[in-house]
C-alpha cells in the first residue's frame, strides 16, 4: 500500500468519526469539535489528492494545498463564532431563565 492510500483511508476514517460525533455529540461544543474533526478529515483527503498530483517539480499539487489553507482559516472562523454563541447562551442561562435584561423585550 502506498503512503497516499494509507493517508486517504485514514482521512476516510476521520470523516466517519467526525460524522458520528456530529450526530451524537452532547451539546454544541461537542458538535463544534466534531465539526473540526470532520473538517480535518476532509482537508487531509484534499492533501492526499494534492500529493497524488505531485509533478512539475512540486511535492504536491499546489492548488489543493492552497485551498486547504483557506479552508482551515474558514473552519477556525466558524469555531470562533460557535464558541461565542455557546458562551453567550451559558451566560444568559446562568441569569436564571429570566428574559434578558434588555428593556426592549416586547413579547
Amino acid at each position: 500500500m502506498s503512503a497516499e492510500t494509507l493517508f486517504g483511508l485514514a482521512a476516510a476514517a476521520l470523516c466517519a468519526i467526525g460524522i458520528y460525533g456530529l450526530m451524537v455529540g452532547r451539546g454544541a461544543l461537542a458538535r463544534l469539535i466534531a465539526f473540526n474533526l470532520l473538517g480535518g478529515g476532509v482537508f487531509v483527503l484534499f492533501g492526499v489528492v494534492a500529493r497524488r498530483g505531485a509533478g512539475a517539480g512540486f511535492g504536491g499539487d499546489p492548488v489543493p494545498q492552497a485551498l486547504v489553507i483557506t479552508g482551515i482559516v474558514v473552519a477556525f472562523s466558524a469555531t470562533a463564532l460557535g464558541a461565542a454563541l455557546v458562551e453567550r447562551l451559558a451566560q444568559l442561562r446562568a441569569k436564571g431563565g429570566a428574559p434578558s435584561e434588555e428593556p426592549e423585550a416586547d413579547t
Binding site: A16, G27, L32, E87
Partner: protein, 309 residues
C-alpha cells in the same frame, strides 16, 4: 520503514479523534482535539505540504484550541443527556457507510491523478514568486483569499454582535486570571520579541518558501495574546477607530488593489505588469496585519461590561 511511521501517525490521529469524540469532559475533548491538530501537522509534512502544516498547527490546532478552551471554561451548563442507544447505533451505521463510501473512492481514484501542478509551474514565472502556494492564494485564486479575509472579519462582527447593547464598544473579558508570580511576564518579555520576529519572517519569506500571511499572522496574534495575558499590553477597546482600521486594512487594501487592476492591468485583481511582486508583498503585509489583529480579537471574544471582573 517510512510507511510504518506513516501508519503510526494515522493511528495516533485516529486515537486522538476518537478521544475528542468520546471523552466525557469538555476539557479532555479539547485537549484531545489539540493533540489531533498537532498530529495532523505531521501528516501534512508527510504529504509534502509544509505551508499547510504550519497553518494547521498555528490556526487549526493552536488558535482554534484556544477558542474552544475559552468556551469550555465559560460554558458551565451540565452536558445534555447522551443520545439513546438506537440513535447511536444509527449514527454508527451512518459513519460506517461514510467510511465505506470514501474508502472505496480513495481506492478507485483515477490513475494518473489529474493535477494542476504543471499549469501552476507554467505560469509561476509570470508572478515573480517562488512559493507556488502563495502564487495560488494571492494571484491565481486571489478572489478566494480576498473573501476569506472578509469571512474572518465577518466572524468577528458576529462575535461582537453577541454582546449586550451597552457593552458593544467595551473591552473583551480577561482570558486568564492574573498569575501570582512574574513567570508569565518574564516569559512574555523574552518570547514576544522573538515571536514577532518569527511572525514577520514567516510573512516575508512566504513569497518564496513555505510561510505566508496566514501563518505569520497567526504567530503575531499569539504574541499579542501573550503580551495581553501577561499584562504588558492593555486589553483593546473595540470601538477604537485605529483598531478597526487595522482590521479593515487587509480586506480593503486587497479590494483596492483589485479595483486598481481594472486601471493598471486589464482585469479585477490583476497585478500591474512590472511591479507585481512589490504590490503582492504590500497586499500580503496588509493581510498579515489584519489577520493578526482579527485572530487575536476572535480569541479574546465579545466585549463585556467592565464591572463584571
Amino acid at each position: 520503514m517510512s510507511l510504518a511511521f506513516d501508519a503510526l501517525l494515522c493511528l495516533l490521529a485516529l486515537l486522538a479523534a476518537l478521544r475528542a469524540v468520546a471523552a466525557g469532559e469538555g476539557f479532555s475533548r479539547v485537549a484531545a482535539f489539540m493533540a489531533y491538530g498537532l498530529i495532523l501537522g505531521l501528516v501534512w509534512v508527510r504529504l509534502a505540504a509544509v505551508d499547510v502544516a504550519l497553518t494547521e498547527v498555528a490556526v487549526g490546532s493552536g488558535v482554534t484550541g484556544l477558542v474552544l478552551l475559552r468556551a469550555v471554561a465559560r460554558d458551565d451548563a451540565p452536558a445534555p443527556l447522551a443520545a439513546g442507544l438506537a440513535y447511536r447505533l444509527l449514527a454508527g451505521v451512518v459513519a460506517l457507510l461514510v467510511f465505506a463510501g470514501l474508502a472505496a473512492v480513495v481506492l478507485l481514484l483515477p490513475e494518473p491523478a489529474p493535477s494542476l501542478a504543471p499549469e501552476v509551474a507554467r505560469h509561476l514565472p509570470a508572478t515573480d514568486l517562488g512559493n507556488p502556494i502563495t502564487a495560488v492564494l494571492i494571484v491565481f485564486r486571489a478572489l478566494d483569499t480576498l473573501l476569506e479575509t472578509v469571512v474572518l472579519l465577518l466572524a468577528l462582527i458576529g462575535v461582537w454582535a453577541l454582546s449586550p447593547d451597552r457593552t458593544w464598544a467595551g473591552r473583551p473579558a480577561v482570558l486568564l486570571p492574573a498569575p501570582w508570580s512574574g513567570a508569565l511576564e518574564f516569559l512574555a518579555r523574552l518570547v514576544v520579541p522573538v515571536g514577532v520576529l518569527v511572525g514577520l519572517y514567516m510573512f516575508w519569506a512566504g513569497a518564496d518558501v513555505p510561510g505566508g500571511a496566514f501563518q505569520g499572522g497567526a504567530v503575531l496574534a499569539a504574541m499579542a495574546l501573550m503580551a495581553i495575558a501577561a499584562g504588558l499590553l492593555p486589553r483593546p477597546v473595540l470601538a477604537r477607530r485605529r483598531l478597526r482600521a487595522l482590521l479593515l486594512a487587509g480586506p480593503f487594501g486587497f479590494l483596492l488593489v483589485g479595483v486598481l487592476g481594472w486601471v493598471f492591468a486589464d482585469a479585477f485583481l490583476a497585478y500591474p505588469p512590472g511591479v507585481e511582486k512589490a504590490v503582492i508583498i504590500l497586499v500580503e503585509a496588509a493581510i498579515t496585519l489584519s489577520i493578526a489583529v482579527t485572530l487575536a480579537l476572535l480569541v479574546l471574544g465579545p466585549p463585556v461590561a467592565e464591572e463584571t471582573e
